[in-house]
Amino acid sequence: MKLLNTRALVLRSQPLGERDRLLSLLTWERGKLSAVAPGARKIKSKLAAGVDYFTCGSFLLHQGKSLYTVNQLEIETNFSRIGENIKDYAYGMYFAELAEKLLEEGESYPDVFDLLLSCWGHLLDKKADRDVLARFFELRILSILGYHPHFQDCLYCGDQLGPFFWNYSSGGVFCGKCRPGEEVVFPFSRGTHALAVRLLSLFPGKIANIRAADLQKKELQDFTWHFLQYWTAAGHLKGLSFLAKVNNSEGDKKAGNAPE
């Protein structure tokens, strides 16, 4: 019998039939893998609490032909209180979704494991600006996986002063002189540039100290979201659609269209 004892983060947890749950786990040793948690839909299941979203646990897995099965688990950290704020919830789920979509099976990603663990932790203790944290997560997972967005200087001439711009296919920023003639380009202001450079090299523990203006957050978000779409196979990101829905319904409230 092949057993694997590993730390793991729950990336996805879906009902499977009437009794079980199907998990996507990010394990320390073997990276991303799929596992069945037998009986975890039952209200009295011993596994149920540990196979939900926002969990870091120590899992004993049995390796079957196509899937692993959860034999036992012990919860190490439960981040479920992230769900107490709807935007933290949206971002926490988005981080897991991004990891689940960008990682290949059969390869280990200890750096992504640590990144996700620390970002869930930051969502939970609420000291970091959640939008800045989200950009940090995106830039760092991209760079760990080898899609290193180029911010240091102009992609074409090495100009370091800016102002900089980017377009869908640039993979980084370029200066005003090197800007391609006919194409649509987007601004990347000096403050945004400084923020992006900082986030790429920041020690995760320092993220709570970073503040950014709305314009910077918006410009960097536009960049990372388009970068993800153009350069990776992430495809439609449900976490981002959900965030937009939440923001919309908040907008309705402010406009007086909905009760509160």
């Binding site: 039952k42 009295k44 107490e84 829905k245 919309n248 319904s249 909905a258 509160e260």
Partner: protein, 198 residues
């Protein structure tokens, strides 16, 4: 091809049902084919008929054939007490306990990026409208005791608080992570009794 086009088509139809894989679908198809013609016609009619008649109650979104369901029309029920559940079957579990005499609101899901359910999809604005104008004094949130159910509960509680409505969450006796539809009556009764304000 091993089976006729009609059989293949029916297998595909059955496979759209939850929890039905290709083998089970094929078994169901063989069973249907072994039934009397009248029985099969009755079955098909029942499907279409149910789909045509059943809709969401305009007040609580329970499944009903009327505009307002029989629970909402029952005058003996306490209008000031509202229980929010994810699914109609969760409401049935609570009804079976006989412990709850208020009215319900059924979300038909939980706030979930994975399912694509935001506040609008769950008709949470309608729920808030009901809290504002329906004489509701206390709301008990009985969503599933897992991350998605909790996030939904906190979101609703946050929106209800400014309305001066007391909001509680069922809890005691419910372990974390499972689905409410599998709770027995005793567990559910204790969960209702052990609700806590959030």
């Amino acid at each position: 091809m091993l089976f006729s086009p009609a059989i293949t088509r029916l297998v595909d139809v059955f496979r759209r049902l939850p929890g039905i894989g290709p083998k089970t679908a094929l078994r169901l198809v063989f069973f249907v084919l072994s039934m009397e013609k009248e029985e099969v016609e009755e079955m098909a009619r029942a499907l279409v008929d149910a789909k045509r008649r059943v809709k969401h109650c305009a007040r609580c979104r329970n499944l009903t054939e009327q505009d307002i369901c029989s629970v909402c029309r029952d005058e003996r029920r306490d209008q000031s007490l509202l229980c929010v559940v994810q699914e109609p079957r969760d409401m049935m579990v609570i009804e079976k306990t006989g412990q709850f005499k208020g009215l319900y609101f059924i979300l038909h899901g939980a706030l979930s990026p994975v399912e694509g359910f935001g506040p609008e999809e769950l008709k949470i604005p309608d729920l808030l409208q009901l809290m504002k104008t329906g004489g509701v004094k206390e709301v008990i949130i009985a969503t599933n005791p897992n991350v998605e159910g909790d996030a939904t509960a906190f979101y609703i509680a946050g929106a209800a608080r400014p309305l001066g409505i007391m909001v509680s969450r069922i809890g005691f006796g419910l372990p974390v992570g499972g689905d409410l539809e599998y709770a027995d009556e005793l567990t559910m009764t204790r969960a209702l009794e052990g609700r806590r304000e959030i």
